[in-house]
């Protein structure tokens, strides 16, 4: 497997503790490119922390996380992440995307076209020159997707990207995510929203109290969950989705 791809991603007995409490508890799994992966679980199950460990924002307390081809420091990243609350720089929407390209070492003359392409993919070209921080929440989140997408990463981590958005903004974000998925980027998304998991996911990683309890295809997971926790979660969550 030395085809240059950063996949597969392997986690071996990964734990993460903070304040004496295990937030992620001995998780082992392998993630392949292709089907989009939903990390599902209740609040506090460890979804965000697991994604941050994969993305390299946190270091595991124990265990190992290995990408097939580790990233070289300084080289453009082949993975990107969109957070629940987008963090926009105090500059235009255009400049926010261009900033990511600059950090990745893309020479200035090539940036303009890439930025325009990224803004087009999320339907924000008409707002390119507005200051990013005065855009609406949904627009900011689409801009965050454009910024993450500008370099066509191999994997895109999404941490509850629609948790603080209204239904119409949520639909827009979901259609952008689908388009990225269709364009060949591996999507790994944390959510506690079952409807969203069904709409966007191919497979489910179900977390409960920091442990990986179940891994199944979306159809299988929702029709016949194998674990009692997953069954209870599906039952409990359904009325609100």
């Amino acid at each position: 497997m030395s085809n240059g791809s950063i996949f597969p991603l392997r986690l071996a007995e990964v734990s993460f503790a903070a304040g004496g409490r295990a937030i992620i508890d001995r998780v082992s799994l392998e993630i392949e490119p292709g089907p989009s992966t939903i990390i599902l679980g209740a609040n506090g199950a460890g979804k965000s922390v697991l994604m941050r460990l994969m993305h390299g924002l946190l270091n595991p307390t124990s265990g190992k996380i290995d990408w097939n081809a580790p990233e070289r420091p300084g080289a453009p990243r082949k993975q990107a992440m969109v957070f629940q609350r987008p963090v926009m720089l105090r500059r235009s929407a255009f400049a926010n995307v261009a900033y990511a390209l600059k950090i990745a070492g893309i020479p200035e003359p090539q940036r303009g076209a890439l930025v325009r392409e990224a803004l087009e993919s999320v339907g924000l070209v008409h707002l390119a020159h507005r200051p990013a921080r005065v855009l609406s929440g949904g627009e900011q989140q689409r801009l965050a997707l454009a910024r993450a997408w500008a370099l066509h990463p191999e994997v895109l981590f999404l941490d509850e990207p629609t948790a603080s958005l209204d239904p119409s903004a949520t639909r827009e974000i979901e259609s952008v995510i689908k388009a990225f998925d269709a364009a060949g980027t591996k999507v790994v998304m944390a959510t506690h929203n079952l409807g969203q998991a069904r709409r966007l996911g191919d497979e489910i990683l179900f977390l409960d109290q920091g442990r990986l309890v179940e891994r199944a295809s979306v159809g299988e997971f929702f029709s016949k969950p194998r674990s009692a926790q997953a069954a209870a979660f599906i039952k409990g969550e359904l009325p609100w989705t």
Binding site: P76, L89, R147
Partner: protein, 231 residues
Amino acid sequence: MSEALKTAFELLVSLDAKLVEIVFLSLSVSLSAVVAAALLGLPLGAAIAVGRFPGRQVVIVALNALMGLPPVVVGLLVYLLLSRAGPLGPLGILFTPSAMIVAQTILILPIIAALSRQAIEDAWSEYEEQLRSLGARRMNAALTLLWDTRFSLLTAILAGFGRAAAEVGAVMIVGGNIDGVTRVMTTTIALETSKGDLPLALGLGVILITIVIAVNAAAYLTKELAQRRYG
């Protein structure tokens, strides 16, 4: 008293040559000190804000404490450095505006560094994950934050300017309050008041307060406008 106020007002309105010269020297000394302290203090504040090094907390506490440096003590230290027998004596700048700039720079450097450190560290806690996710190194992140907090940093710089323009102890000691050479607004006010010549002192007092208020109003407005425009 009312007589003194009236004369002060006349001095202001007629743009009395002596008064203008004193105001001009004051501003050029304090603005030079602000530029020097900002050039040193902003990068220093940014480095401490995003840096991780042993003794960081000690540095932060020390920097905050130094914000309250007594001007006369700074004046004394700079005097000792620059006096003929001192280590920097050969420069021969004691009792010149250059010495006053050095003293005020030292006085306000901790103010600008400490306030910018605070502003940048607050921004860093908001931006850190995003910037690291994009692959930004700490050096890049520090520069990004300096630019992104530029309106807050303006406030830090102006706090430094206010302190420099208003202090009397340091410039008195290292400048010597020499008429036409190192006499600035605050030292003139101190001298003329003790001599009993109130009009010039009052006139300068009015100008000093006006400058400080105007500068702070400008800073406030800039920040408000920027907030509305850039969020």
